[in-house]
């Protein structure tokens, strides 16, 4: 699913160069549930953005679902983000002026899905995350947990094979966090590959594989149930 070879990322800040990622090699197979852990500044979010085609590596090669990403132009990258990846962010990133339903239909709008199909699919997903009653609400009328469930519904609309979650529970209380993680497990059980960035060990504990980051390097890579785990 994800093959990273020698990925580096250098940020230039005036004369200063910051090496956010040292050469990274990583393979994530289809259907895995991976948690990436590390303190802030460890490079985990940078890696996440590169995997999500939101950021471009300084060097190295990245193959997503068989497609070499570094050779793609902006339009193809947009298409990949649209069809292959669903994003869930810590700060939800919903459009504040649009209704819940409009937010969920947005990826399908860019994919050119006809209006009726869009609404049908969005309603189906909102029902699934338990927000069927809130379709006409705006994001600021929802709780954090509800907002994140809207974001998850939005990430699922295109049936993307990969779900990327960047600190999805970072702004949520414990109860909501558990609900969100339960939802992730359900989604994973249906065959979606999930990559989750977090710094909370108990959240990471839901994953099958935990990769720990530090200083732009992979410090450890453990699989649940494996000898080292």
């Amino acid at each position: 699913m994800i093959v990273l070879k020698g990925i580096t990322k250098v940020y230039k800040n005036g004369p200063l160069e910051v090496q956010a990622l040292n050469p990274i090699d990583l393979r994530i197979e289809k259907g895995e549930f991976v948690a990436i852990m590390g303190s802030s500044g460890s490079g985990k979010s940078t890696l996440m953005n590169i995997i999500g085609c939101l950021d471009i590596p300084t060097s190295g090669s990245y193959e997503l679902d068989g497609t070499p990403v570094e050779s793609l132009g902006e339009v193809e990258l947009a298409r990949i983000r649209n069809r292959k990846i669903g994003f869930v962010f810590q700060s939800f990133n919903l459009l504040p002026r649009q209704t819940v339903l409009q937010n969920v239909t947005l990826p399908m709008m860019y994919a050119g899905v006809p209006r009726e199909k869009r609404n049908e699919r969005a309603l189906e997903l909102l029902r699934r995350v338990g927000l069927a009653e809130r379709v006409k609400h705006r994001p600021n009328e929802l709780s954090g947990g509800q907002k994140q469930r809207v974001a998850i519904a939005r990430a699922l609309t295109m049936n993307a094979p990969l779900l990327l979650a960047d600190e999805p529970t970072g702004n949520l209380d414990t109860k909501s966090s558990h609900e969100i993680m339960a939802l992730f497990k359900e989604i994973h059980a249906e065959g979606t590959t999930i990559v989750l960035v977090t710094h909370e060990p108990d959240i990471a504990g839901h994953a099958d594989r935990i990769i720990t980051f530090g200083d732009g390097r992979i410090l450890s890579d453990k699989r649940k149930g494996s000898a080292g785990g």
């Binding site: 953005n49 999500g52 939101l54 950021d55 902006e74 339009v75 947009a78 298409r79 983000r81 649209n82 069809r83 994003f87 962010f89 990133n93 919903l94 459009l95 002026r97 947005l106 990826p107 709008m109 860019y110 994919a111 050119g112 209006r115 939005r154 295109m158």
Partner: protein, 398 residues
């Protein structure tokens, strides 16, 4: 995402910032309103003058003595007997003169003001005189100095009930007792509204009173050449004949043709429209800069929105289109309001001036085309800026 949906999204966004959108539009509104008003009024003016000119037969011209040192050489005036001789000149078909005389008419103890034009029986053959009853006076009546008159329908209706009823009646004018032989309908004229309540009529030039610029001292002749194409030759021959006859220089006379007038009017209107159109164009450009300014603000404000849209699959093209449509909608709505204002202004002007109300399709198309072009031109840069934003940086933008 279809164009229709993009337009809906754009309208939605404009609605979110009603006041701002409205203020931004004002520049465009004024620019377009100015263009539509000016072009519409200009066309109405041109149309009404042209339709007046079209009352003259092709080739029609007038000739009059030139003012030298503020006065006309006495021998340069035309005499009545000249008319018959000029008519015989090669290349001349009809000759007439028009001199208006104010007269009062007594009708049922009421005193009415008349403006009577002394002219020849050739007159209706050179320009349109819409005789609705009876006939125009003929050359025998003219030569025999018969006091006959062709009155306007407005007076016939008032005094006798109908044009037909007026035929054969006698009317007491200050020049004597006249017999009504015909009734005509006066053309709606640009100047029709001026000069107070009075009636118009035609009578043979031979029965008009004498005096400066009148009867035997005519200051103007109307000529229709035998062939309109040879108007210039006819004018030349006429001037030579007059120079010889009147013992004046060949340049003692000036001519003016309907064609000259037409060209001059067209030129004048086109210069006027160009000047005012340019001013309107400048105000449109200023309006366009307003659109650009507000779109740049909007792009900065919505950086995060752009980041979110890009993250979930919007291409740079989608983003560019979204902002471009918004800019175009701004100027297009402004253009629509402006066009309505402009048409209303032209309509009010038409009501006041008596000119026709001409809905200038050309002006509307121009205004819309121009305002859409302003939207595209001035929306392009902000839209491009939005499209070029990096998704990850825009997502981090607070």
């Amino acid at each position: 995402m279809s164009i229709f949906e993009s337009i809906l999204v754009a309208l939605d966004n404009l609605r979110m910032n009603k006041m701002r959108s409205f203020l931004t539009m004002i520049g465009i509104v004024f620019g377009v309103a100015a263009v539509v008003t000016v072009v519409s009024i200009g066309q109405a003016g041109q149309y009404s003058i042209m339709s007046e000119l079209s009352n003259y037969e092709n080739g029609y011209f007038v000739i009059y003595p030139k003012y030298g040192n503020g006065r006309i050489e006495d021998n340069a005036y035309f005499r009545l007997r000249d008319l018959a001789e000029i008519r015989k000149l090669p290349g001349v078909r009809y000759v007439s003169s028009s001199a208006a005389h104010g007269m009062t008419a007594k009708h049922k103890k009421e005193e009415l003001q008349f403006s009577i034009t002394g002219t020849t029986s050739d007159s209706p053959k050179m320009k349109k005189i819409d005789v609705v009853a009876g006939r125009f006076f003929n050359s025998q009546e003219e030569r025999a100095r018969q006091k006959v008159v062709v009155i306007e329908a407005k007076f016939a209706d008032k005094a006798y009930g109908s044009p037909q009823a007026a035929i054969g009646r006698k009317i007491q004018l200050s020049g004597g007792m006249f017999r009504i032989v015909g009734v005509y309908r006066e053309q709606e004229s640009l100047m029709g509204g001026f000069g107070g309540e009075r009636y118009f009529a035609y009578a043979p030039i031979t029965v008009m009173p004498g005096g400066e610029g009148t009867n035997d001292r005519l200051s103007m002749l109307e000529i229709l050449p035998a062939s309109p194409e040879k108007m210039d030759e006819t004018i030349d021959a006429l001037k030579s004949w007059l120079a010889d006859r009147k013992n004046v220089g060949k340049d003692a006379y000036v001519t003016e043709s309907a064609k000259d007038a037409e060209q001059m009017i067209k030129r004048t209107f086109s210069i006027l429209q160009t000047i005012i159109g340019s001013i309107a164009g400048i105000s449109l450009i200023v309006g366009g800069i307003g659109v650009m300014n507000i779109m740049l603000v909007s792009v900065t404000e919505r950086t995060r929105e752009i980041g979110i849209r890009k993250a979930i699959g919007a291409t740079p093209g989608n983003i560019r289109f979204q902002f471009l449509i918004e800019a175009v909608m701004l100027s297009f709505i402004g253009g629509t309001i402006g066009a309505l204002f402009g048409l209303s202004a032209a309509w009010v002007f038409a009501l006041i001036s008596g000119w026709p109300f001409v809905v200038s399709l050309w002006a509307i198309v121009l205004a819309f085309g121009f305002s859409a072009a302003v939207g595209i031109f001035f929306g392009w840069y902000p839209a491009r800026k939005a499209a070029k934003l990096q998704p990850i940086e825009s997502l981090r933008y607070e």
